[in-house]
Amino acid sequence: MQEVTVQPGAAPPLRLEKKTRSSELKKRLWRNKWLYVMLLPGVLYFIIFKYLPMYGLIISFQNYKPYQGIFGSEWVGFEHFKRLFTEPEFFNILWNTIVLFALNIFIYFPIPIILALMLNELRGNFFKRIFQTLVYLPHFMSWVIIVSISYVMVTMDGGIINELLSYFGFEKINFLLSNGWLRPMYIIQVIWREAGWGTIIYLAAIAAVDPGLYEAARMDGAGRMRQVWHITLPTIRGVIITLFILKIGHVLDLGFEHVYLLLNSMNRQVGEIIDTYVYTAGLRQGQFSYSTAIGFFKSIIGLIMVMLVNRISKKMGEEGVY
């Protein structure tokens, strides 16, 4: 493992006095000129398509009217943020969002890793490929389809699962209309749709493992489990951490469609999250400024989380995402 990855911090061996530093810098810049040329298209892309439109965030502090434009709309300062924070349901909604996110991190997140390791342990390329392809299928079904298929399975009105329950003499369970079942259903659907797809990136990382290392470990008498633990897992650690940091940025940003499809009057108490709230309170009523302000709030929290976790990861000697 150590032979494969180069440790960070080993990189620029340049710790010189101030004087020579600037000339060294110039030299380095010149030497790396082609690298900067390489960065150019990407940097241009981010500037043009990402940073240029960011002035749109201004409308969080306005009473934006489409016909008055961003530069003509009335300024209201933090009005919209105040509205959000004084919303009676705000803390409940925030809590619901965090709980679903926590399920994502603690339950969903490790599953693709485990699945990838299991796939990697399969003997024979034939089954490996077949299984790999099969588990990745669900990713291509939209949430609408997945939710409507689950409806058919769990409804009290003749759904398969409830029919089975009552056949075996159990009480029917009201999966669709209860506060208790929304979260399990949500996370199960997430796992079902995304776990297989999520393995791909880890499989790519596993592919970089030097087979010689396994050989050596076997010589030392290490079993399969130990090989996984001591060779495979450390190799993909970097990828895991990167994905984790990127994911943590979406702490309040779970996406609207999936949860919205699961939501109804009977489970809104636990199911209303920030994104669904934005949809009802903001977008459906053309409240652009309010929606943008909520988005802004989500982003700030995301940024804080990313910076925090990134710092921790660097402290622990990992690379971090920036």
Partner: protein, 291 residues
Amino acid sequence: MVEDRSISGRIYAAINFTLLALIALITVLPFVHVVAGSFTTSAELAAHKFVLIPRIWSWDAYKFIFSTNTIFRAMGVSIGVTLVGTLFSMFITSLMAYGLARRDLDGRNVINFMVVFTMLFTGGMIPTFLVVKELGLINTYASLILPSAISAFNMIILRNFFQNIPEGLEESAKIDGCSDFGILFKIVLPLSMPAIATISLFYAVTYWNTYMSAILYLDDSTKWPIQVLLRQIVVLASGMDHSSTLDGTVPPPDQTIKMAVIVVATLPILMVYPFLQKHFAKGALLGSVKG
């Protein structure tokens, strides 16, 4: 992987196999349902909740969706956009990722941070639309590609993979007189095939799923990709549109048509993966080069 013939090794493999087979079965069943549903009649679908093997076979749904050239045209657009878009994105993403992977590059951390920042903050639909409009991209296929040419996520992942390539290799290439571009294309990329395959797949799927850009930037519906058609049919057929009114004039399309369209619109992108799979076995390369 080398065979482990010990008893515990065999048990381990058997358990692993069984578990995976079970998981594969669970993931694939709803898909089978969709495929089966597309080959039967709507009456059969309504009568039996979860059809896995249709008792009545019917091609009607496929006849319906293939009876005009819309789906072919949309498919053509999607394939074109996916191919061109993926190549283009991979190209500029690799360039950027490689540049940022080089630890001796001054300012890389600032740029890295700026990239991460865009994952969290976006200006929104309207300002982006204006940029696209200013660039003269409205009603061009380029509007489906350029505004999403680089995914920050993909770039960061690719950069991570590039960082894992031993710097010694690059050093020796440099001594051999390779330019930075040369190193990237001759050494780094060939050594990163699993990563390249992965990120290409990610891009391809993103381009294949293009929906909102098409609606916003293309007024001409003959230029729309397959997802617009797919989503339109799925939403209509699922009755999930909450704002639907009391309108009797437009009964939703048959469930079978919905399923057939899902099958047709998903098949091409599904076929990409098996082709890329072989690259996942190429990890050995790295070892051999180094050795």
